[in-house]
């Protein structure tokens, strides 16, 4: 075998693929593959659930309930995102270090804020939700804050990355013309990232709607709460009604987001 064939560069991706595949196969060993896996009536339940897929409950009561829950879910998501955007705005700017001049302060400010963003993002919104519910009770604010913090963290980090990725020329030109750091931010940085960040925020909004739906799992109202109730009652047809409403909500926002992104990337 030709020595050159064995050179590392050529095969990096294959090596990684191999490692990942091995990791996957290893993980399969952690499950005991026997009939104990499925509930005794599991397959039967699966069939019931599957058939109910085609016959969602479309009675007036359920439909109204679904619409109300959809609004609840949507409004929590929107409120949460509005806070997230504010958080992301401030943290993003501070974490990218562009308003601070080079030097010692910058060296400490950046990691400080980036670390906070990292912490906010690391914890899943449901865990935040649980933490808030445990401390302030079953208030809509639990859901809103639980969405605002991790999403603020994600948006803030991406915003900071975008700000840092900007090519320095236009900014230097502004500064040469006499702009202060804040003015450079307002007239230089922000307009340049505006399209990108809006597009990403729309994408995250769609995720937020889904997250909001599952907030209800900790007891706050919304589509997820209804799904859970109906599952407990074994009313699979109702479950699918709510799931369909959720899917519809997500699809609408997804389409809107796609249209927006297409027109922003000019």
């Amino acid at each position: 075998m030709d020595k050159r064939w064995l050179s590392f560069e050529l095969h990096k991706r294959k090596i990684l693929t191999l490692i990942l595949s091995l990791a996957f196969i290893m993980s399969l060993f952690s499950v005991e593959w026997n009939s104990e896996l499925i509930h005794s009536k599991g397959l039967e339940t699966a069939k019931q659930i599957a058939t109910a897929f085609f016959t969602p409950d479309l009675s007036g009561d359920i439909l109204i309930l679904a619409m109300e829950s959809s609004w609840t879910t949507l409004s929590y998501a929107a409120a949460g995102m509005s806070l997230a955007i504010i958080i992301a705005f401030f943290y993003g700017i501070l974490a990218s270090g562009i308003v601070v001049s080079e030097g010692n302060i910058k060296r400490y400010i950046r990691p400080f804020f980036r670390g906070q963003l990292g912490f906010m993002r690391a914890i899943h919104e449901l865990v935040w939700a649980w933490l808030f519910v445990a401390s302030i009770g079953l208030s809509p604010y639990a859901a809103i804050f639980a969405l605002a913090i991790p999403y603020g963290g994600i948006l803030g980090r991406i915003f900071a990355d975008m700000l840092e990725d900007i090519s320095p020329e236009p900014i230097k030109a502004l500064e040469a013309a006499g702009a202060s750091k804040l003015q450079a931010l307002w007239y230089g940085y922000l307009p340049l990232v505006r399209a990108n960040i809006t597009s990403y925020a729309m994408y995250r909004f769609e995720c937020a709607v889904r997250s909001s739906a599952i907030m209800s799992f900790v007891g706050i109202g919304g589509l997820g709460y209804q799904i859970q109730l109906s599952l407990d009652d074994l009313h699979y047809d109702e479950v699918w009604t709510f799931v369909y409403f959720l899917i519809a909500l997500v699809i609408v926002i997804d389409l809107w987001s796609n249209q927006l992104r297409k027109r922003l990337v000019q």
């Binding site: 399969l28 699966a46 445990a134 208030s139 809006t198």
Partner: protein
């Protein structure tokens, strides 16, 4: 034409602002959720009690001081890790198997020089499947799966995979759509069959981006394992729920610690791996 495009974007932004304002209005007025009530003495008392509980102040034997608890938590952490890898694996395999018809340049025959009558039909069906899969949150999938499977790591992995399969599928399809079709078509003229086209033409160009997406999704899946655990899918999440219901708050601190460690580790490994294949 430019004016029209500008209008859509501006209109959207206004609509979104309206939505947000409307949401706050709804929350303040309709649900009568008051911000000030939030900070009543009673609430502050409960909140501080909660946090004290988490930190283990006023507790005789906080969980994080016992080696046994650390061992348990470590086991659960390992379980959770396995769940995340399994889920990512299932989702990737399912996405790979279905992605080829889901790419526009395959459906219209421009990639492979072969136009099948069912091109757009398959496209629609697979893409529809992806949308369905990713619109349903992992938790909802888990709630349904738990009715079929007994609690454990497998149902969690399946639930996570069911949701992420749609996400990966869409991302993979976009990678294929972005490919330069000329080398692929040329391979076809050299006599390559469908499988060979994929292996020699599509995969070399697409693999780097595929791997990047897989690693990114693994990071997200890692965070979500705790959530599917809530409904009984094993790992750290399940124990979290148990400790929650027993009000063993110091347990939770320990679990949260391991959870964060796992998430940060996954982020780190993922980033290193992505740099490796650059």
């Amino acid at each position: 034409m430019k004016k029209y495009k500008l209008s859509f974007v501006t209109a959207s932004v206004y609509a979104l602002l309206l939505l947000m304002v409307g949401s706050w209005v709804s929350i303040f007025i309709v649900e009568k959720a008051s911000l000030t009530l939030l900070f009543t003495e009673k609430n502050l008392f409960y909140a501080s009690k909660f946090f004290k509980g988490l930190l283990g102040i006023d507790e005789e034997s906080p969980a994080y001081l016992h080696a046994e608890n650390w061992k348990n938590a470590l086991n659960l952490t390992f379980e959770t890790l396995m769940m995340s890898v399994m889920a990512t694996g299932f989702a990737t395999i399912a996405a790979f198997l279905t992605v080829v018809p889901a790419a526009r340049n395959v459906a219209d025959g421009s990639l492979t020089l072969v136009k099948k009558w069912h091109g757009w039909l398959s496209f629609g069906m697979v893409r529809g499947g992806y949308i369905f899969s990713r619109a349903v949150p992992e938790l909802v999938w888990a709630m349904i799966i738990i009715f079929i499977f007994k609690p454990g790591v497998l149902p969690g992995a399946i639930a996570l995979a069911l949701h992420n399969f749609g996400i990966l599928g869409k991302l993979f399809a976009e990678v294929i759509e972005d490919l330069d079709s000329r080398p692929v078509r040329n391979l076809s003229s050299s006599g390559a069959g469908r499988f060979q086209l994929f292996l020699y033409g599509v995969l070399p160009a697409a693999l780097p981006r595929f791997l990047t997406y897989i690693l990114y999704r693994w990071e997200v899946i890692m965070r979500t394992t705790i959530v599917v655990g809530f409904v009984g899918a094993g790992g750290l999440g399940q124990q979290f729920k148990l400790s929650m219901s027993f009000f063993h708050y110091t347990d939770i601190t320990l679990l949260l610690f391991f959870y964060l460690a796992l998430v940060f580790a996954a982020d780190y490994i993922s980033e290193k791996a992505r740099i490796f294949i650059k």
